[in-house]
Subunit: 222 residues, 2 copies
């Protein structure tokens, strides 16, 4: 019965279907970005990301390389954090964090009269300055990262995929422009769409690519 196929089989079939449908749309993916794009479409069943996902030069390769060296990941929501492949990251010697529920961060937000999302990203900038910063929810977190980059922060990568209707489009345009100016790698989903699932999908694609770099013999179909 169909429902008794193994998860690995199903994932492989899914990726084949996605590749076929992309080809059917007449789109050719840039091979270095393909793992990220495929995994986002796998997580959303939304081919609109073919048009909206944007990569600074070599962003995916640089981020995968950084992950092989144990670069930590910071997400803006616990939901995105929950979606990150812990076993995958652990094999790389890396770790993922979200500071949204950190009581010290909540306290700081209150004291500074700002949101927890902003305070959490300030905290990340202070404590893990070379991390991969992933935003799937709060445009304010993205504006904060942009400010920090202007002030000298150099994250290994910014994943800029908040979802929504207010300030979201603007926050992505701002971070992409600031990252370009300061030569910081960025992967963004332009427009309104995105979310914690999209952030997690991008991070997992990079984690799996990093694992392939460390152990090319185990290289999968991804």
């Amino acid at each position: 019965m169909a429902e008794h196929r193994l998860p690995g089989d199903i994932e492989r079939s899914s990726m084949q279907i996605i590749r076929q449908e992309i080809a059917g749309l007449g789109v050719t993916l840039k091979e270095e970005n393909a793992p990220v794009i495929l995994r986002v479409i796998h997580a959303t069943a939304d081919f609109a990301y073919l048009e909206t996902l944007t990569f600074s030069p070599k962003a995916a390769a640089l981020a995968s390389e950084a992950l092989t060296k144990g670069t930590p990941i910071v997400t803006d929501t616990n939901m995105a954090l929950s979606g990150v492949s812990r076993p995958g990251l652990k094999k790389l010697g890396g770790e993922a964090f979200c500071f949204m529920a950190d009581p010290a961060v909540a306290e700081k937000a209150k004291r500074d009269g700002t949101t927890r999302a902003v305070a959490a990203m300030r905290h990340a900038a202070e404590t893990l300055p070379g991390a991969i910063l992933a935003v799937g929810n709060a445009p304010t977190a993205l504006f904060q990262i942009a400010e920090e980059i202007e002030a000298g922060l150099r994250p290994a990568l910014v994943v800029a995929v908040p979802v929504g209707f207010v300030n979201v489009v603007e926050s992505k345009e701002r971070i992409v422009s600031v990252c370009r100016k300061h030569n910081v790698p960025v992967i963004a989903a332009m427009g309104r769409k995105g979310g914690s699932s999209v952030a997690a999908a991008i991070l997992n694609a990079l984690i799996y690519s990093a694992a392939d770099l460390l152990d090319p013999a185990a290289r999968g179909w991804n």
Copy 2:
């Protein structure tokens, strides 16, 4: 500055924009389903859900009513669980669970030669038979719930929103048909789209509606 608006303000503006754009599309929402539909579009920025979200008669009202009585929620992924409003649920005296990472469930899956998703839903059926069951990821979990319903299980609601390309469409059609046959409330996103964010958005809309039922004076804009 735009980035300094409070999260509550931004959410209110977002919902207004979504309502306006839905009206602009010439669509009139059934008022009882509106909170769920609006929150899913808020979480995805994807108006395709206007066409795909399906509700059995009074599903949202019945589920909100159940939540006011402390009915527990079971999700198929920790990611969906992370997205559920814990403070909201706590006010209702409810609790949310995911059994995917439960070592006993992993053991059972191995013993029974099945997936953890299936074993986790079996475990939910055994231990929390009247719960709200939410599936944002694994079609196998949905097939399992359909089997359990055929065998007599009566969940308070099934949220059927897995995302993907293999077995996903079929799993939703099956659960909707089984739920209809046995008079079990169901909310489904037909087609390929869905995901943990969508599951969490639906659950949160129901949680907020339940809070409104308990305290109409505090009724929000939702």
